[in-house]
Amino acid sequence: MAPNESPITLTTFPRLGTKDDYIQPYYPPSGPALRSQFVPDEIANPHIRFPTLAANIRARRGRKVELNVPVFKDKNTPSPFKDPTVNYDLRNWPEDDDVRNGAAKDDHVYMDAMAFGMGSCCLQITFQAKNIPEGRKLYDQLSPLGPILLALTAATPIYKGFLVDTDVRWNQISNAVDDRTREELGELPLKNDRWRIPKSRYASNSTYISQDPRLRKEYLDPGLIVDEDIKKRLMEDGMDELLATHFAHLFIRDPIVIFSEDLEELDLDKADHFENLQSTNWQHMRFKPPPPEKHDIGWRVEFRSMEIQMTDFENAAFAIFIVLVTRAILSFDLNFYIPIQRTTENMETAHARNAVLDRKFYFRRDPFSPSVRRNQHSPSNSNTSSAAPSVYSTPPPSPPLSPVESEYELMTIADIVNGSTDGSFPGLIPLVESYLNSVNVDVETRCSLARYLDFIRKRANGTLWTGAKWIREFVAKHPAYKQDSAVPEEICYDLVRAVDEMTVKEGADGSVGWELLRGRKD
């Protein structure tokens, strides 16, 4: 690296898509692959896969992708706010008509390329399960945590040089790769397409897949779109209904990139065609079968919602926290099931400015499973073999339990993470500590874990700021800020310098970022 270069971790570059000289070497926007009026083709990975991916999404969709992020309305922000960076007179490509046809919405920051979403940086954790039942259980149990951890890690308050009214990246990525046609979106009557599809291929997940007696059918999405032919075929070949439904749901999407040489001969020892669809379904959880010919890799689950944090310490804290939560889930056999549509709603809620403190999220009231007397035998003990025949071809009929609606309620993130003050919900951190008190941990490890857990506890209760809040405050206090939502180059430069300093000093002794990492100046 050159002396004037340093690696930093921001979810997005705050002025990506402006006319600044922020790429070296400079390339002008409006290339043939992205056809973006804001970013050049050269900003994307030059491997043929990526420009093709972007071009095919655009082709399938019939127009450019469209990202409209509500602008943060400050004292001097014009109202209505009309994104001043949009060029309505560009006529290089047919897609340049999009903005003349109303693609850019009032009171929103408008972006038009995959790079604005897929160019974001996030914190994903992949777990290897001991076998397929454990993988399926983790997939289900971590799913309701996705929106909670998204709000807790919020770090994306600026797009294309403007403060926006959301704190996280998620929906921008969702829109940046949304290849649905007008028919699939419900804007035109269905004529050529097969379905109305409620979500982008990048979205919160819509299936539960664990063969768990605690999975009530009321938790599943009644409006789930599946390819019934594929589901039937999978089940005929021995896949159980839950998993067949999951994959038949992923397979409603078209492949977006296919290499012609892969079509010459069908090689059933390879999983390329499967992976092609699997890995372009970007949901907040991903269930990953072992790759063929790699016998040391097992069933894996990816937890994908978290935002990258500006310092290594924060990133380590969240990575370790999620690992510990999975150990607590497996040890206590925790149950976080809620109807999956509530998780979709929580994902929207997590976007709100300062959602971590100001909003409430649907969460299960009682994470413990009913007592298992030993003569009933623990369900976790019956799952010892991955080859066990499936017990539940469909979720079992609901026992005479209380109504599903009474199982969950709206909770603050502070209560979910730290426990409710009345003790009715134990809290993720007390559960993790209860787990740690049951295993042998040496003093040095416990000491580092205590620092990480303390950080998360304080992020959840507001003692420490999210990255999003810290960035907002940095902009608000900057002398060059004019209370008009615009984040000019000068502020952006100082911000990046501050982040660089923060990654080294981590807020110690009142240095920059102390509100984010220490909570006090001394």
Binding site: R327, F332, G419, P430, S438
Partner: protein, 317 residues
């Protein structure tokens, strides 16, 4: 008569035993809550099976069907040792057992107590050995501030016993070493030893403790002297959050007594007639955990406690 109290596996016990109050996660709360929860669960299971709605003990307490008497031992609740056990092969697990010798109980009984406790755990988990036994001597408190433990004289419960002294610690250790020789225990450990006590203790041991478990409210303040000494002697310093006085007599009586929160086994006072009569003396408490090594999953965790009850609690030999 001996009473054996047990929690069964508290990891899957359905929550009541797991700590719900974030501020009070101490092992005595865990122990008492999970014993109470296990008593209730057993009473409910029994009343469901027999269809009877009256499941409390009758006046002498002995014939309640959710407990089980074998010779002069009453299991509360009844334990079916043919059930349970571990899901995977034995080598997959790290089995740690912590035995709490209680204040006021004669040192001479410890050898027998240790065997009783270990045997119960082996039976419960269906294994023939454990990986680590940590023993907790009464009256030793670890103080991170100055790395000196103070001998706290046992609570005034009328006992004639002196507080735990060094000789009795050595004497107890001899019996642990013999269990180690028999292959029932792979490693031995102590709790709350500061570096001075360790230095005094080690020369007297044939089998060195491989673990020193310390209770730290803020585990980032471990005395440097202890860290260095433990490293030099290859003793691993582990953390715990166990309570020093894990099961006081009053708590045992309340747990087993006739009150609203009691199990209806024991009389409300030594000479009352609403349950088993006589004095009660808790002899020891043992905690066990079976952790799947590679994955860090706690599969089984529980407690046993043994109490003597009777008009005259005799010293056992």
């Amino acid at each position: 008569m001996k009473l054996i109290l047990s929690t069964s596996n508290i990891m899957t016990a359905g929550g009541p035993s797991v700590i719900r109050q974030p501020t009070t996660y101490k092992s005595n709360v865990e122990l008492v809550n999970s014993l109470r929860a296990n008593f209730l669960a057993a009473q409910h299971a029994t009343s469901r099976e027999t269809g009877s709605s009256t499941n409390t003990a009758n006046s002498n307490g002995r014939s309640s069907s959710w407990t089980k008497q074998e010779e002069d031992t009453l299991y509360i609740p009844a334990v079916d040792f043919s059930q349970g056990g571990l899901a995977e092969e034995r080598p997959q697990y790290d089995i740690t057992v912590k035995l709490f010798y209680l204040p006021g109980i004669p040192v001479s009984r410890r050898c027998a107590h240790t065997k009783q406790a270990i045997d119960l755990v082996l039976k419960e988990l269906h294994v023939d050995s454990i990986d680590l036994l940590i023993v907790s001597f009464p009256g030793i408190l670890f103080d991170a501030e100055d790395d000196s433990e103070e001998d706290v004289s046992s609570v005034d419960d009328g006992s004639e016993e002196p507080s735990d002294d060094f000789d009795s610690t050595i004497q107890t250790w001899r019996s642990l070493e013999s269990l180690h020789e028999q292959g029932k225990i792979s490693q031995l450990g102590v709790a709350e030893f500061g570096s001075e006590r360790l230095a005094r203790f080690l020369p007297h041991t044939k089998v060195k403790p491989s673990v020193d478990q310390i209770n730290l409210k803020d585990c980032c303040v471990v005395p440097k002297s202890l860290i260095l000494y433990a490293k030099q002697e290859k003793i691993e310093l582990l953390t715990h959050n166990d309570c020093n006085d894990i099961l006081p007599i009053g708590t045992t009586r309340e747990l087993l007594g006739p009150g609203e929160r009691g199990a209806g086994i024991l009389a409300s006072s030594p000479d009352a007639s609403d349950g088993l009569q006589g004095d009660i003396e808790t002899q020891w408490v043992v905690k066990y955990t079976a952790v799947v090594k590679d994955r860090g999953v706690v599969e089984n965790k529980g407690y046993f406690a043994l109490a003597d009850v009777g008009s005259c609690v005799k010293p056992s030999t």
